[in-house]
């Protein structure tokens, strides 16, 4: 009975944020397959913690659990990633489809590669701010970065992204210029 009620509440409050959860995991883990596994495990874990959730921002609450699960997974499976500030190899997404590979010249793919090359801490703030539209307060809650340093963390991350994009571009990414083909 209690489980039933909890489940309904969980479905209403938390499950609508599954896309946000998956998206964060996908970018932190560089691939959809690993992201699916970690998201599933973390959402079920969130359900076990759910009785302790005291209302408020359910999306931030879920994303915080997802993020922690991703870092635990990275520590276990790719510890080097957590200590590398910047990935020089600018590797492709591990699950890039043949179509995506064929479109390697495409701006979207280039931007994705640039984002993948950032350190996880830079990558996550870009994903949270630009793809999920989180406020600074939410970013602070999800990543445990003090609220006062969210702005400078984002500033650094965006500059890294711009540099990475410039290095990947045939022509440098200039001010006022959105590359063609978009």
């Amino acid at each position: 009975m209690l489980d039933q009620k909890e489940r309904e509440r969980f479905e209403q409050l938390v499950l609508p944020h599954l896309d946000a959860a998956f998206n964060l995991a996908r970018w932190l883990l560089h691939g959809r397959t690993d992201a699916e596994d970690v998201t599933q495990e973390a959402v079920l874990r969130a359900f076990r913690f759910f009785p302790g959730f005291q209302g408020g921002d359910a999306r931030a609450w879920l994303l915080q659990i997802i993020r922690n699960s991703c870092y635990t997974w990275l520590e276990k499976n790719r510890p080097a990633e957590l200590t590398t500030e910047f990935d020089e190899s600018l590797h492709f997404s591990r699950t890039a489809s043949p179509e995506a590979q064929a479109l390697a010249g495409d701006d979207r793919v280039r931007l994705a590669r640039a984002l993948e090359s950032l350190s996880p801490r830079s990558r996550e703030v870009i994903v949270l701010r630009e793809l999920e539209g989180c406020s600074y307060k939410e970013i602070a809650a999800i990543t445990s970065i003090p609220i006062g340093t969210v702005m400078s963390t984002l500033a650094r991350a965006r500059n890294h992204l711009r540099e990475a994009l410039t290095r990947l571009s045939a022509k440098p990414f200039k001010e006022n210029e959105v590359p063609s083909g978009l």
Binding site: E6, D19, E36, D107, I126
Partner: protein, 249 residues
């Protein structure tokens, strides 16, 4: 150059996160600083590029289905009626099982912990540790400093791991005494809050998590592999659960 001051303010402005007075201060600065104007334009076009590229990826439908299937089931009314008979059998079995188990396992909640340690004593030790200068005997975020410190001071080895990446940085450790038993206390930070994790040896069998709150402090108690644990803090119970899952993993 003066605009170094504004380099991160620019992002707050871009994100609409500056308060009114800082925003107008920044706007005034823009009028006299072409460098910041062009930096702002660069960031705006980067943001435009991110928007157009639609990098957000949504969860596959199969993931949603798998998660729903793994949650405790909900039943339709018809199915419920069908299962009524079975359900009574299950209830009867559960009653019998609980009756048997309770002979073995029932003890008042406060005496769950071995060595006669009660939650009140754990809470008192936690509050004492929050007095200035009492929190840690060995203050270090390095698990390889904290763990050896316990060697030779205890006849058991508490698990010491730093969880800074998950938002629970290790702050240090100390020895404490609860009801005459020497215990290890591991201290973790959670934003501005402190979490005490008390650990002591036990010869009793493993016990899964048991949680509660006393005078506004959340606690979780469990036993694993010959050690008894009690974590206590004023953080949200969900946060405490998260740390406990990490420790017992």
């Amino acid at each position: 150059m003066a605009c170094e001051l504004f380099q991160s303010a620019l992002h707050g402005y871009l994100d609409g996160e500056l308060d009114a007075s800082r925003a107008s201060e920044f706007e005034r600065h823009l009028q006299s600083c072409p460098e910041c104007v062009s930096a702002l334009e660069t960031q705006e076009s980067l943001r435009g590029l991110l928007k157009q590229s639609a990098l957000r990826e949504i969860a596959p439908a199969s993931l949603r289905t798998r998660i729903r299937a793994a949650l405790p089931a909900t039943e339709s009314p018809a199915a419920r009626r069908k299962h009524m008979g079975l359900r009574w059998i299950a209830v009867a079995a559960a009653v019998i099982l609980v009756f048997f188990l309770s002979w073995r396992a029932f003890v008042p909640p406060d005496q769950y912990m071995a060595a006669g340690i009660g939650i009140d004593q754990v809470l008192d030790a936690h509050l004492r540790s929050l007095q200035p200068g009492h929190l840690t005997d060995v203050a270090s975020t390095d698990q390889h400093t904290v763990k050896p410190w316990f060697d030779g001071r205890l006849n058991f080895a508490p698990p010491v791991t730093d969880f800074a990446a998950q938002g629970f940085p290790l702050e240090g450790g100390r020895l404490d005494i609860l009801n005459g038993q020497t215990v290890a206390a591991l201290v973790y930070g959670r934003r501005k809050h402190s979490v005490n994790v008390f650990v002591w040896p036990t010869d009793q069998r493993d016990l899964s998590f048991r949680s509660g709150s006393t005078r506004g402090y959340a606690w979780i108690h469990w036993r694993k592999e010959g050690m008894e644990f009690c974590a206590i803090s004023d953080v949200a119970p969900a946060d405490l659960h998260e740390l406990v899952e990490l420790i017992s993993h």
